[in-house]
C-alpha cells in the first residue's frame, strides 16, 4: 500500500473518530427511520472518503466534513420516495438510547430530546441544516461558509428558524 493511501486512511479514521457522533446527529435531522439513517451515515462517511483525496485545505476540515454531510443529507431528502415505515422502527427512531444512568432523569431527557428531534424534522430542509449547524457550535461565519450565503443572512435567518423551532415545540414567547 502506498504511503499516500496510508496517510489518507489515517486521516479518514481520525475524521470518523472526531466527527462520527456529529454525523450521526446530523443524519437524525434528515432521516427518522433508524435502519435508513444508519445507511445514510455510512453513505456520508463514504462520500467523505471519496472527496478526501481531493481536499486541498481550501476551507477548514470541519467545514469540509459538514458540507459533504449536509449535501449528502439534502440529496437523500430530494431523492427518497415516501416509503412504508414500520411503526416499531419509527418509535424506536424517535427515542434514541442515552447511555447515562438515573432512570427518571433519563426518561424526562429522552422525552425532551424526542420533542426537539421531531420539531427539527418538521422544519424545511435548509432550515434544519442551519439550526443543526448552530447546535453543533459552528459560528455564523462557518455556517455561511458551509451554506454559501452571507453572515448577515445567516444571522437573520437563524432568528427566524429559532422562532419556527419554538413554534414547532409549542413554546410560548
Amino acid at each position: 500500500m502506498s504511503e499516500h493511501r496510508q496517510a489518507l486512511e489515517k486521516q479518514f479514521a481520525r475524521i470518523l473518530g472526531e466527527y462520527g457522533a456529529a454525523i450521526s446527529r446530523l443524519a437524525f435531522s434528515y432521516e427518522a427511520v433508524a435502519s435508513v439513517r444508519e445507511e445514510l451515515v455510512q453513505e456520508i462517511a463514504l462520500a467523505i472518503w471519496q472527496a478526501l483525496a481531493h481536499f486541498r485545505g481550501d476551507c477548514s476540515e470541519r467545514t469540509f466534513v459538514y458540507r459533504i454531510a449536509h449535501n449528502r443529507g439534502l440529496s437523500h431528502v430530494g431523492r427518497r420516495r415516501p416509503a412504508h415505515q414500520p411503526l416499531e422502527e419509527l418509535e424506536e427512531s424517535e427515542q434514541p438510547v442515552d447511555p447515562r444512568p438515573h432512570l427518571e432523569e433519563q426518561v424526562a431527557r429522552t422525552d425532551q430530546r424526542a420533542q426537539l428531534m421531531s420539531a427539527i424534522q418538521s422544519l424545511p430542509a435548509i432550515h434544519r441544516q442551519m439550526i443543526v449547524l448552530a447546535f453543533e457550535g459552528l459560528s455564523h461565519a462557518e455556517i455561511a461558509e458551509v451554506m454559501g450565503i452571507t453572515e448577515n443572512n445567516v444571522a437573520v435567518r437563524l432568528t427566524r428558524v429559532r422562532k419556527a423551532l419554538k413554534d414547532a415545540l409549542g413554546v410560548r414567547p
Binding site: A13, L16, G17, G20, A21, I23, S24, R25, F28, E38, V41, Q42, A45, L46, A47, W49, Q50, A51, H54, F55, F64, R67, I68, H70, N71, R72, L74, S75, V77, G78, R79, R81, P96, V97, D98, P99, R100, R109, Q112, R113, L116, P124, A125, I126, H127, Q129, V132, A134, F135, G137, E145, V146, M147, G148, I149, R157, R160, R162, A164, L165
Partner: protein, 200 residues
C-alpha cells in the same frame, strides 16, 4: 451574551445518538466493496469493449447485406460508450464538497439536463423505429427474400425487437422521467428555502 435557550437545545441535541455500532468497520467494508466493484466494472468494460470491437470488425467483413452497417454501428457505439465512461470517470470536480448553494444549483442543472435528455431520447427512439421501418421498406426486395426463406426467425426478431424491447425502453424512460420530475420539484423546493421563501 448568554443564550440559555440555545444552550439548552444544544445540550439536548449533543446527547443524541452515538455513531451506529461498528460504524468504522462497516464503512471500511463498504469502501473495499466499492473499490472491488470499480476494478471489476472497469475490467468488464475493457472485455466488453474488446469483444464488441472484434465482433464489429468481423461483421464488417461479412458479405451479408447488414454486415457493414451493423459493424460500423457497433464500432461507433463502442467508442461512444468508452468515451462517455472515461468522461464520467474523470469528473474530478466533486459538488458534494462545495457549499450548499453551489451544490443545489448544480443539482438543479443536472436534473433539468437529465429530464431534457430523457425527453430527447424518447423522440429519438420513436424516430429510430420510423427510420428502421423506412429502411426495411426501401430494402424490401432484398429483405423480403430472407423473410420468405426464414419466416419463423423473422417473426421472433419482430416480436423481440418491436413488441417487447421498445415498450420496455419507452415505459422505462417514462418511469425515469417521472422520478426525475419529482426530484426536480424537491430541488426547486430546496432552492426556494435557500432563497428564504419558506419562512415568514
Amino acid at each position: 451574551m448568554e443564550d440559555r435557550e440555545l444552550d439548552s437545545w444544544r445540550e439536548q441535541w449533543s446527547s443524541v445518538a452515538e455513531p451506529p455500532a461498528e460504524f468504522q468497520r462497516k464503512v471500511q467494508q463498504r469502501i473495499k466493496r466499492q473499490e472491488r466493484r470499480f476494478v471489476l466494472g472497469n475490467l468488464l468494460t475493457v472485455i466488453a469493449f474488446l469483444g464488441m470491437l472484434i465482433f464489429g470488425v468481423f461483421m464488417r467483413h461479412q458479405s451479408i447485406w447488414m454486415g457493414t452497417g451493423w459493424g460500423t454501428g457497433i464500432c461507433v457505439l463502442v467508442f461512444v460508450s468508452a468515451a462517455y465512461r472515461i468522461w464520467i470517470m474523470r469528473g474530478t470536480w466533486r459538488p458534494q464538497t462545495q457549499s450548499t448553494r453551489a451544490f443545489v444549483e448544480l443539482w438543479h442543472k443536472r436534473v433539468t439536463a437529465r429530464i431534457r435528455l430523457l425527453r430527447i431520447s424518447m423522440y429519438v427512439s420513436l424516430g429510430w423505429i420510423i427510420f428502421c421501418a423506412v429502411l426495411t421498406a426501401a430494402n424490401w426486395a432484398t429483405i423480403g427474400q430472407d423473410v420468405g426463406a426464414h419466416p419463423k426467425a423473422w417473426v421472433v426478431l419482430l416480436v423481440v425487437c418491436v413488441l417487447m424491447q421498445y415498450p420496455v425502453i419507452w415505459y422505462g424512460a417514462v418511469w425515469l422521467r417521472r422520478r426525475k420530475l419529482a426530484e426536480l420539484n424537491e430541488v426547486r423546493k430546496i432552492m426556494d428555502e435557500m432563497d428564504g421563501k419558506s419562512l415568514p
